[in-house]
Symmetry: C2
Subunit: 308 residues, 2 copies
Amino acid sequence: MSAYVRTFGEIPGYPEGWSPPTGKRAEIQRVGIHARNIAGISGTAAEGADAIVLNGGYPDDDDRGLVIIYTGHGGQDSKTKKQIADQDLKDPGNAALVKSQLDGLPVRVIRGSGEKSPYAPTNGYRYDGLYRVLRHWFKTRDDGFRVCQFLMVKIGSPYDVLDPEYPDSVTNEGALSTSESSIEPVHRTETTVYKANRRAGIVKKLKALHRNLCQVCGKAVNLPSGPSSEAAHIQAIGVPHNGPDVIENLLCLCPNDHLRFDNGAFYLTDNLEVVDTLGENPSYKLRTHPDHKIGIEYVRYHRSCWLK
Amino acid sequence: MSAYVRTFGEIPGYPEGWSPPTGKRAEIQRVGIHARNIAGISGTAAEGADAIVLNGGYPDDDDRGLVIIYTGHGGQDSKTKKQIADQDLKDPGNAALVKSQLDGLPVRVIRGSGEKSPYAPTNGYRYDGLYRVLRHWFKTRDDGFRVCQFLMVKIGSPYDVLDPEYPDSVTNEGALSTSESSIEPVHRTETTVYKANRRAGIVKKLKALHRNLCQVCGKAVNLPSGPSSEAAHIQAIGVPHNGPDVIENLLCLCPNDHLRFDNGAFYLTDNLEVVDTLGENPSYKLRTHPDHKIGIEYVRYHRSCWLK
């Protein structure tokens, strides 16, 4: 069998709704939709998870169609299928899904007839399109064991929102009083938006080259799943700056320095010196990587937005 | 004349489309839609901008209807209307619009017949609804002077997206090659989403009490417009956690610690000690404010998502 090539997103020739004629996992693996023959998660901590299978493997799965609460892998006795240990993020499958979450990677979802859900196929398996991991956490079950869970939403569905926490977004001001307690779930309004299509490949390459270390402060944000960083455009994308979505127009930054950069707290000289506009820090050289060339035209554009 | 009460969002009785019958600015001020009689921006650096008027005051305005590039205030000779100095963020009106940007506050937009735009009314003024400030920057004009500009989008329109930079969001992976240069503007797809309605009042109160200092690391992210922070829910909002949008369920955090908190890099004990799950830092007491009570039930819920 040829080596599995991990690809994210749609596999040409196998669109949403496709079912393997034989009804077997092996065929899903053969055509490149999922790397594994038995395990639910396809992926690695370094690359991310490219696909998952929902087939009733864990009773904690909660399949709501456009929204799935998917259980991670591990701690299950392979013969009895009983949980005998906790799950954790050392498991490569779980780490892979967290990587997909933090990098915003699409995950192919395959449902199997073994799943107890109105969305499961009656026989075999069915590829049901691309989902995004929004967040993860650990649940302690009634039997006392701990499982990892992932909130996944269908890409392009109304649930496919950027995490509403980032950044604060409000439509109207409420009263400045804690007695105005609204202990109901946060209401949501349906609205149509234009979402920017960004390319995952350059984000992954950027973060890999810099090992998630911020080019300005030199630190990564360390999470249980590993180090984390953000890909920041130098010349902003969107109107009116219309910066291109290319790696030469990206910096690998921690969230704090990304916010500072986008709001003019510092700029870069043509020599890639970091100059603090508030005068809090002396100037110093930006951290760079020989395989990540930074476009001087984008640096100059950004500088022109903040400096005369 | 009674004192102006700054209110954000819609003013009851004056819906989108309302025009003052007299056609005068004074009436707009009288009914509480805009604080000022002449100046374009209504607001303060501390509170944010609650309204703006587009009336041709600056030739750099670019009114595209649902999207407005609005010029800031300052540096203009009041008699000749010529620019004679640069604009900056010391100007209270400009600082107010940046505050609205960072806090996600809605800004009422009033168009006047003095504006040269297909969207301007033929006479007098018209209230055209709520807009959000997405970003700001400085433009150096042909005459060499520098003006502050604000990208504003109609709330609820397809352009009302959270900044696509936060966080990385991709729909499909591109090739890992810089030769795949797409030097066109980033494409956008139209899609329907559910957007969380969060209440601005508690965010403002939280940040004011803590002076934008992170309750975990003690630092604010300092921007030219002033210190910045984020309001993070302790028990996450949305499915399946369904935490309430109340101040007792919020922490004032810098972006880095917000990311760490939401992904289990630390948790809080019942005594509000910050415990690092990666063992990088010794435990210490969370910074608190006597007027910001933290709900212990939300702290426990968050902890249960990460600790057994």
